[in-house]
Amino acid sequence: MATDAVSRSGSLAASAGAFVGTFALVLAAIAALFAIDTVLARADRAASRAEGRRLFSEGMRLQAEGDMREALDRLRSAVAAERPNPVYQRGLAAALLAAGRPRDAQTLMAERLQRDPTDAEASLIMARALAREGRTRQAIGLYHRAIFGEWGDGERARRVGARFELLDLLAADHDQEQLLAELLPLQSEAPDDPATRKRIAHLFLAAGSPGRAGAMFRDLVRQDHRDADSYAGLGEAELQQGNYRAARRALTAGLALRPRDERIAARLALVDRVLALDPTQRGIGTSVQYGRSLVLLALTLTAVDSCVGAGRAPPHPALLDSAKASLARPLARGASLDGAVDAQIGLAVRVWQSRPHGCPTPEFARPAELLMGRLPTRIAPYILVCEE
């Protein structure tokens, strides 16, 4: 009996040994395979990284050579070889954008931003792609993400670069209010070199803030008396503020430094025409003022007529008739010349303001347009009295 028990316990032990042995074998196989897989995966990743590097540099070279099709192929393969590499992803997106495929660039960068929302460079590429598609509002949002995102090396300069891109977009979009709002913090962030300050001053002009632009240009001129661009900018700022004589002085100085600059010459010619037309200028006699006010009224009428002639409905026929009658009617004997000047200017302003919306200004009427920008404020009390 004892032998039976021993034999039974022996067989049980053998069976248990086989059972435990199988488990041990499986566990050992798992451990060994894990080690093998880890080594294989590491080798695979290293090979993929090397392949990715090779393909990326080849892609960038091809892009620089202008072979966009092959470049995109290599860059895409580089991304496939090392998917998590943000440099490759951004490189491919930038290449797609350069190849005129903003939608594909957006898709790629959307994935990148989903993974890392603070990736400033990806936001910037995304913003450019959106801007390219005319989706300005979304692009502005992405520019902001880029400006406040993580840049890594050279953070300040790249952030300022992104802000300048945003400002250029806003300037192109004629969004003066937002442009000004973005410009103000840039004054303190941007490097204090003349080129950057000049760029900011020009942007202030585009933002409809000629006072700030003028101050910056004045500083620049003070620092460098031979900078024709700064003189031209100052002239423009003065022109927009209605300081025609100061504008003339600045533009004349600029043209003297760069006599062949047609742009400065054209602006100077315009200022001269404005000075010759301005009936409110100090130091001219009342009769000259009256004559100029008549020319101004005639110019505004012609501008409105040309607009109506282009198929637009006449705004206020009675007003136009009254203006035409006023031009045709000689000044009554004994009438006050000062009063007549004010009346003609007031009529010119009302005719100008009654132009149909979106009516383009013909070249001959540019001086009148500039004057009209500031005349209403000068003669507002008179107009109010007339309308009452």
């Binding site: 248990a16 798992i30 897989d37 294989l40 995966a41 695979d44 994935e111």
Partner: protein
């Protein structure tokens, strides 16, 4: 007995007890199998990929692309013929055959053969997939472990799909689709009771995959969405194209395979060379055709391929895969189905986008849907294909067009190619697997289809024993339900009545006869033999066999005493198409 002997004996008993608790053991094994299979499949993927990169590197010479697959096919062809005959082909029909015919038995030799031959075959550029072989490797490992642990036959069979799910989860990075595929295709039953184990192993394998390879999906897919509701028309067209393409692929593959099978057996070892040479010659001109081709699928998904390229790749891949598989190379059709689908989808998408650029998404979205469509058309697992694409993309928005397209392809494939591919492949090898039709028929054959009205067979409780014997409705049966009004009182057997008559109780009422039975038989509804109308006829047969009756009452599920009818053995046999009278007449 020594102290050590006592300890060993005690330990032995404990282990034996543990071994006997197979259900709990199966859960532990599911985890282990999931981890082991996951790691093996990861090694399989990495090895195949690395060797392939060395064998035919991008930008390599054209002759190399011809020689490498041809030589690869020659070497693996010989190894398969000489040493691993069961490791040929995809692995999925072989796994199903092992599961349904060989009690889940897959040898370790087959596992080894599949691993090494497939690695060599796929690495040399043969245009087949790695998922099918991975499934057989996973199933084989599960089978080997279960048999080494001396588990019961049923448990070995139950662990085979567990290995399949783990393999697919690791090979394709789709744990949910892996579970569904194991149930839908391998088991053929989405309600199989092994769901828990399958889910556990799939999840474990997926975790192992992520641990080793990181959290990268198999394909990087952009977030596509429906641009315009009218796009559904384009997706429906894709369903039609995908369905027809799938049928063309399956018919070509089966036709070619039959041709190769008809050749003399002694040529079997060299037949794979035909596949290697075909794919090599195609690869000479178009390298994208070589290997699994997932890099090209990814490019198609990015919408970055020209229309003529994707159309050409779709056609050439159909031919290349059909020849490679039919000639007996080791590798699956799972991956090529996705490749073919992606290219067909990209082709349809390119045309749609060309015609209606503002109302359709880019070709990439169609390539994505095309993958699922071809899979549904070729493999015929529509649910798996939807979930697989969902898992690959991790995006919900493409699911509705995907479902539409899949169902159209599935329907067309079902109409034009009667047998699903894995079933047809098994039949070519002389193996008859359980078919969908069989399963459907089994599900269709319910008690309600064979039962007859209660009035035809019942006895009234007020009748006497003599009357009952004289009337004996449905003369061939050996028992009758006794009812009082509409309430079933019990079943009375012929011999019971005959005993009562012989004992001189011919005038006794049936209700009295039933009342004289032991109280449990009268009151316990479970003790009352019965079936419900929605029960299967198989269950009715089983109950008849257990009780030794040739008739069973069919009762309501809401009131077990409410008799709805009766079902007799004769009715059941007639429902199965066995005409008893004719057999008797023929003297069978």
């Amino acid at each position: 007995m020594t102290a050590a002997g006592t300890v060993l004996s005690r330990l032995g008993r404990r282990v034996e007890n543990l071994r006997r608790r197979e259900d709990q053991l199966a859960l532990v094994l599911s985890l282990l199998i999931g981890a082991l299979v996951g790691l093996v499949v990861v090694a399989f993927i990495l090895l195949t990929g690395r060797i392939a990169a060395q064998m035919y590197p991008p930008g390599g010479s054209g002759w190399r692309r011809v020689v490498v697959p041809t030589l690869g096919a020659l070497v693996t062809g010989y190894l398969l013929y000489r040493y691993f005959p069961l490791a040929r082909g995809s692995g999925i029909p072989q796994t199903k055959a092992a599961l349904f015919i060989q009690d889940g038995r897959i040898s370790f030799r087959t596992v080894l053969g599949k691993f090494f031959c497939c690695s060599a075959s796929l690495a040399s550029g043969i245009a087949l997939g790695r998922e099918g072989p991975a499934v057989q490797i996973g199933a084989g490992l599960a089978s080997v472990i279960a048999r080494r642990l001396r588990m019961s036959r049923d448990q070995v069979k139950a662990l085979v799909p567990v290995g399949c799910a783990a393999a697919l989860a690791a090979a394709f990075n789709t744990p949910i689709a892996a579970v569904l595929f194991s149930l839908e295709e391998i088991m053929g039953d989405l309600h199989a009771p092994i769901l828990g184990s399958v889910v556990l192993s799939s999840a474990t394998a997926w975790m192992v995959l992520h641990l080793v390879l990181g959290d990268e999906p198999l394909f990087h897919v952009s977030a596509y969405h429906l641009v315009n509701p009218l796009e559904f028309v384009a997706y429906a067209v894709l369903g039609v194209v995908g369905g027809l393409g799938s049928v063309a692929f399956v018919k070509l593959l089966l036709g070619l395979r039959q041709w190769f099978l008809d050749q003399p057996a002694r040529t079997q070892w060299i037949q794979p060379v035909a596949g290697g040479l075909t794919v090599g010659l195609m690869g000479y001109f178009l390298p994208e055709i070589l290997g699994v081709g997932y890099a090209q699928v990814e490019r198609a998904l990015a919408g970055d391929m020209l229309l003529r390229t994707v159309a050409l790749l779709a056609i050439l891949k159909i031919v290349a895969t059909a020849v490679c598989y039919a000639s007996g190379n080791a590798g699956g059709i799972f991956g090529p189905s996705l490749f073919i689908g992606a290219m067909m989808g990209a082709s349809v998408g390119s045309v749609a986008h060309l015609l209606f650029p503002d109302s359709t998404a880019g070709p990439g979205a169609y390539a994505l849907v095309g993958m699922g469509t071809a899979f549904a058309g070729i493999v015929r697992t529509p649910l798996t294909s939807v979930f697989m694409i969902f898992e690959v993309t991790r995006d919900y928005t493409i699911i509705v067009p995907l479902m539409i397209s899949n169902l159209i392809a599935f329907f067309i494939s079902q109409r034009l190619q009667h047998q699903p591919i894995y079933e047809a492949l098994a039949r070519q090898d002389g193996v008859y697997l359980p078919t969908d039709e069989h399963r459907l028929q089994r599900a269709r054959l319910r008690v309600t289809t064979a039962m007859r009205p209660a009035a035809d067979a019942m006895l009234l409780s007020g009748a006497t024993v003599a009357d009952a014997l004289q009337r004996s409705p449905l003369g061939t049966v050996d028992a009758w339900p006794v009812v009082d009004g509409s309430e079933l009182q019990g079943m009375v057997e012929r011999r019971e009545l005959e005993h009562a008559l012989a004992a001189g109780r011919g005038d006794q009422l049936l209700t009295v006869l039933l009342r004289e039975r032991p109280s449990r038989q009268r009151t316990d509804s479970i003790a009352l033999p019965h079936v419900h109308p929605d029960h299967s006829l198989t269950l009715a047969l089983e109950r008849m066999g257990t009780l030794g009756h040739t008739v069973l009452p069919v009762v309501s599920r809401s009131n077990i005493r409410h008799l709805l009818g009766v079902v007799t053995l004769e009715d059941v046999l007639a429902a199965y198409g066995v005409d008893r009278d004719r057999r008797v007449a023929n003297g069978d």
